[in-house]
């Protein structure tokens, strides 16, 4: 193998390792933003996510996504993927897939049956995620043909997770005590330091998430990756700043949980266009997502009355879709403000709509069946006592 190819593989593997670590970040964020009586359950869901993702994606998910194209819609599935010279790719795609699955976990935390969750997680891994992924990233998918840009997965990974999350959170219903006489109550997370550490780890992992999606490092890719890391970092910072300022002005205090969500919103938002926009564009996308995430959380919580303990729907669903569409505005080539007209913007919107339609409808079908069969939700007693005691027989914190 020539040195350039080895260099490319090295970067993809390292980036994949960074993305792997995001699982720890998600675990921390979800744990920190929920109550201590459900900590074991949240940990278990996040771990098993990745376990199922690893096995399921290798078993069949990878080829559904990246196998030879069938009618621009789906890859040709084959079992136990085993091409020795694509192992780095299998790894990188596996950690992406697991990210998408894990997003749902936060939105339905503190009330969902563990066994049901595991089954849904498997469906994400082998069905929901790979199919829309194929449309965009396999090379022959119909969205690729249209010219749709989702560089690292604002839509393919995050919005798909966010769409599954909103369906799941709606079907499973709000936590007991969340809506009292139709008014939304605050249920503060039990350890905001865990939340913050989780966000730092996610931010770290995102350099691999976006940078690795270049899928190369040699030649011109080196500068491209450096540029991606800068746009990623600027958007994250801008998202955090925007959320801080908005909450400070609106509630009189700089709100930590919103600031953290703002950072994540900025990261999700830049993911689609990270390679296509300038640092200034990244600043704009980050600021927009940081503001939007605050209002989206309020809207979903207070108007839609969907109970999303960690804000996963807003962060991943809303900012994922929005970030993808904004590529049509800020892309240096083809973006609206660079004189590219409305073409790219249109394509981006179509792509977002199509992926969202797929993810929403298939999630609904799968979850509705699960609801009617084994059920989505634990009993009220289990929920009030905490899932840790009943589902796992141990509490996370002892003497």
């Amino acid at each position: 193998m020539d040195t350039n190819t080895a260099l490319d593989i090295l970067w993809i593997l390292i980036a994949g390792i960074l993305v792997f670590f995001m699982q720890a970040g998600f675990t921390l964020v979800e744990t920190g933003f929920t109550r201590s009586k459900n900590t074991v359950n949240i940990i278990m869901k996040n771990i098993m996510d990745f376990v199922i993702g690893t096995l399921g994606f290798w078993l069949i998910g990878y080829t559904i996504m990246y196998g030879d194209d069938i009618s621009n819609i789906i890859g040709n599935p084959s079992l136990f993927f085993d091409k020795a010279d694509e192992m780095h790719s299998l790894f990188f795609q596996t950690v992406f897939c697991a990210t998408s699955a894990t997003i749902v976990s936060g939105a339905i935390a503190e009330r969902t049956k563990f066994s049901t969750y595991l089954i849904f997680s498997l469906m994400m891994t082998v069905l929901i995620y790979p199919i829309s992924g194929h449309w965009v990233w396999q090379g022959d998918g119909w969205l690729t043909d249209l010219g749709f840009i989702d560089f690292a997965g604002s839509s393919v990974v995050h919005m798909v997770g966010g769409c599954a999350a909103i369906i799941a959170a709606k079907l499973v219903g709000p936590r007991i005590g969340k809506y009292i006489n139709g008014k939304s109550a605050a249920i503060p997370g039990h350890n905001l330091l865990y939340g913050a550490l989780g966000v730092f780890i996610l931010w770290l992992g995102w350099f691999g998430f976006n940078g690795g999606s270049q899928l190369a490092f040699s030649g011109d890719s080196a500068n491209a990756v450096a540029g991606i890391i800068i746009t990623t970092n600027i958007a994250a910072a801008a998202g955090g700043l925007a959320a801080l300022v908005v909450t400070w002005l609106q509630f009189g205090k700089p709100d930590i949980s919103m600031t953290l969500n703002g950072i994540l919103g900025g990261l999700v938002g830049i993911t689609a266009g990270t390679a296509a926009v300038s640092p200034e564009g990244a600043l704009a996308i980050g600021l927009i997502c940081g503001v939007v995430v605050v209002y989206a959380i309020e809207f979903i919580d207070k108007k839609l009355k969907i109970d999303d303990p960690v804000g996963a729907i807003s962060v991943h669903g809303v900012c994922g879709g929005l970030g993808t569409i904004l590529v049509g505005v800020f892309a240096k080539e083809g973006g609206l403000i660079y004189g590219g007209g409305f073409h790219l913007l249109g394509v981006q919107t179509i792509g977002v709509a199509a992926i969202a339609a797929w993810a929403l409808s298939i999630s609904f079908v799968v979850l509705y069946i699960l609801k009617k069969t084994i059920g989505l939700r634990v009993s009220a007693k289990e929920e009030i006592d905490g899932l840790d005691e009943h589902e796992h027989g141990i509490s996370a914190y002892n003497q």
Binding site: S184, A185, A186, P188, T247, Q250, F251, G252, K253, D255, S257, M258, N261, V294, I297, E298, D301, K302, G311
Partner: protein, 112 residues
């Protein structure tokens, strides 16, 4: 002997403790409780403004001889005071027996 239970602001604990030491009340136990009362605390969490009357407080349990009762209560009343709603309460009740485990000493003598 009397048991004094005082529920005070956590932020006043240091002052109360010093004041107690000054009148030589050097023995007591304390722990943190949540108090429900007149005081309300405003919070914002994720865009939801709410106010709660469940506020962190410190609970002091002090057993004193009858002779010490008054001055102990007075000292707490003074040192825990801010004048704002939420300063807390003091409750007094009877204790019929007291023992020092180390010596087996009983009643008033065990409190010294």
């Amino acid at each position: 002997m009397k048991k004094i239970e005082a529920i005070i602001r956590k932020s006043k604990f240091g002052e109360v403790k010093n004041a107690l030491h000054q009148i030589e009340v050097n023995f007591f136990s304390y722990w943190d409780v949540t108090g429900v009362g007149n005081e309300k605390e405003g919070h914002v969490y994720r865009g939801i403004s709410y106010s709660t009357s469940d506020i962190q407080r410190r609970f002091l349990s002090i057993v004193v001889s009858d002779a010490f009762l008054d001055r102990t209560v007075q000292v707490i009343l003074k040192s825990a005071y801010t004048g704002e709603v939420g300063d807390g309460k003091i409750f007094v009740s009877d204790v019929s027996e007291a023992y020092r485990i180390r010596t087996g000493e009983r009643d008033e003598i065990s409190l010294k």
